[in-house]
Point group: none
Chain length 116, copies 10
């Protein structure tokens, strides 16, 4: 993924620990084995440190997965890695809830630091 | 924002810790990047100390954001700062639940002190 | 759209009027003005005549809209036209329920013949 | 399908028009194209004439589809044909509600006579 | 069934058409093929003529099916026949909703006269 | 029942057909066979003519059934008769929804005139 | 009631039949027999003719019932009469849903003309 | 309002009568008497003739009411007039559901032609 | 069961403890005593170590139970054993929720390691 | 009760502590005082040791209560005693939720060992 798409802005209140929750119910990527589209909801929760993730740039970054083949497990960890690398949050959790494929639904949850 | 719009009145029972919850489901401001209107629900929970926040003045203060461009993260922290500065509560939590923009919903939660 | 992707099979019971309802909740295309992704649910109801629409080919045909810019109104009418051209049903109705964009949701309904 | 599995018993009240509704939420067959299992709910509604469908034999008859490849449209019409052939009801409706495959759900409804 | 268990009392208002609805969610009988217990809900709706069905006697009459093997279709029609014979209502409808057996649920509805 | 308990007052608008709906969810009487308490909800709907039923007197009248043994069917018809006699409405419907007794629930509905 | 409190403004579109629905869930008056407060929801539906009812004046008019003893039936009819007198609508319906008193809830509905 | 903001595009299927439903849950304007903000949901249903309403231009047109003082009744009729003038639909219905003000909620519905 | 059907892929983030939850609502096997089909939902939760379970291979592995007679208790433990053997997770829990048979529903839960 | 009806089979995984939950919503017995039928839901949770309870034999054992008069308290304790005697589980809990009799519902819970 092109991590350069992600922009941040200065955390307006770095002296305070507070939580930002972002929900993206229209996520879509491709299955790396079949090339068929996958659909799901991505939830990002984080405590910002020096900067916050800018939402429009996040939307564009997420859209880059639209034509990319990637496993659910790789996707969730890559999101956690990319967003952590860019925003260096004090803590972050990424959850992917994926729609049924072949009658099977999958959820992947990964985090760094202690959110609550 | 014009913090002078906010008024308080004497806490009728300062000898007791009690909780006040205010919900404002008709909040609207502008996106600082696109100028487009944002909509959301602001929830304020606090334990008053010497004074309580007067509700009509709070309504007028909130309406001042109607034509202002501001990030969600700045807004929630500014609300917490302004209301804390005026009312000096023993504890306060401000939550902003913002409507979907580009298919993405966002929630920001910030607090001072220990509410519960 | 590539109408050649659509396959049909012989209606197993042409002597009987019966109804087939197909729901596609994972439809996505692009906005022709902004290039941004659109999401929605497409519902197809029809009474087959000589042939039925094969579902796997329908899935592949629908996936062709993934990278195509098209207005909702054009999409729903094109689906009705393409599917009618291929399957020549006795009656058909196509409904598109599209997710909010800029805080606005849209539904488009079009039909040919009398379904019920 | 082996129609001989189906048994009937004498309608205990042939002088009266009454309705029997049978729901089979655990139906499973195979996709004729991919060999993958399909799942769905079959509903049978009928007004008996000379005989009623015996439920245990119906269960065994339905289980015969477990390893059979068949299109949804063929299945629903074949059920209507077989059950009508055996029980010769005054009216019958068969509905198949099939689970999502490739993100697409399908319903097929067919009937003979006038049920209500 | 021992129809003698059923008692009636004089309709307190024979000059008026009115509706009585009785629901019995704890009905149980035996399967005539396997001897296994069946469970279901019986609903009786009727317009009384000269007499009403006494509820305690109805309960005792219904309990007589507890150890009796009977098909659902026979049961519902027998209830309609017995209750009609005893109470001679202007109209009556009996519905049996039976719990799943072998993954199959069944409903049987029969009536005499015009209830509504 | 002591019909003298019921009071009416002058219909404030006799030139107009309008509907009054009264719901009494706390009704209780005794079973005439066992002496056990019965519980239920009584609903009264009527179009007043010259007078309306006064609600406090209705409450007192209803409380008179507390120690009285009466069949559901008699109760609903007696209510319809007494209230009609006192208020002479253009139309009235009385419904009694009675709680389970011996696992059996009962509803009785009676009316005079045409309510809607 | 002081009908002079009610104000109207010119119907902006008298050439068109359209419907206005006003719901007032915070209505309160006094019971004329006991002096106890009554609470309820008043709903007003109307098709305007030459003028529309101004909402702030309606709120003040409704508040005038706060200290007034009045029967539900009189209230609903008086509202219909006063509002019809002031606004002369093409059709109007007033509904009062009153909270439980002594375990009894009451609804009164009155109308003039044909609303739909 | 600046009707010039509204854009249309060629109806892709003028030979067919079909229905477009647009829901705008984030509408806000000002009260013409108090200057206070009003909030509500606007629903537009129409059968297009020669052209369709472009959604992004509709969003911008609707945002023009953000700082405008206007009565609910005028707003709904003006929307119907402006959108009809621009798009000349075969039929159109506009509904405004407005949030509580002073404890009073209001709905206004207006239409031209026959939608269904 | 043929454990060879199961495939794994390299855990993309072995340095992190994260949870994968897989839900299979279309599981079916045979009763080892009667040969009749059983239906249920299997849920697998695990923390991967060196590798992740590939979902398409899991689907094919699960389909192998379609014609196999097995007790619920054996099934859940065998799934836990096979999946643990192949993927060697840091922790895993398998839950089987089985549909009613003879009016009896059964749930079996087994785990290794500490999931949360 | 005839404890000989109960069968067990070898615990397929005695080296692991895992939980089996069995729900029987169609339980019925007789009241020992009145001879009237009682209805309820029995839930059995246990950690097996050397053997598991075979479900078909459990069904037949439970059906033996159909014509037996027994107090709720005796029933739940006898189930716990009989099932513990036969299966010698590491821990077991039996819960009986009984339907209303005379307007009264009853729940009885008993256990041995530590389930969780």
């Amino acid at each position: 993924m092109n991590i350069n798409l992600l922009e941040t802005f200065k955390n307006p209140e770095p002296g305070r620990n507070y939580i930002i929750t972002i929900k993206i119910p229209e996520f879509t990527s491709l299955c790396p084995k079949t090339g068929q589209p996958d659909f799901g909801t991505i939830t990002i929760e984080y405590v910002p440190d020096k900067c916050c993730i800018e939402l429009k740039s996040l939307k564009l970054y997420m859209q880059n997965y639209r034509q990319k083949g990637i496993f659910y497990e790789s996707l969730v960890n890559q999101l956690l890695n990319d967003l952590s690398f860019i925003a260096k949050p004090r803590a972050m959790k990424v959850t992917g809830d994926f729609n049924a494929r072949g009658g099977i639904t999958t959820k992947v949850e990964a985090k760094t630091g202690k959110l609550f």
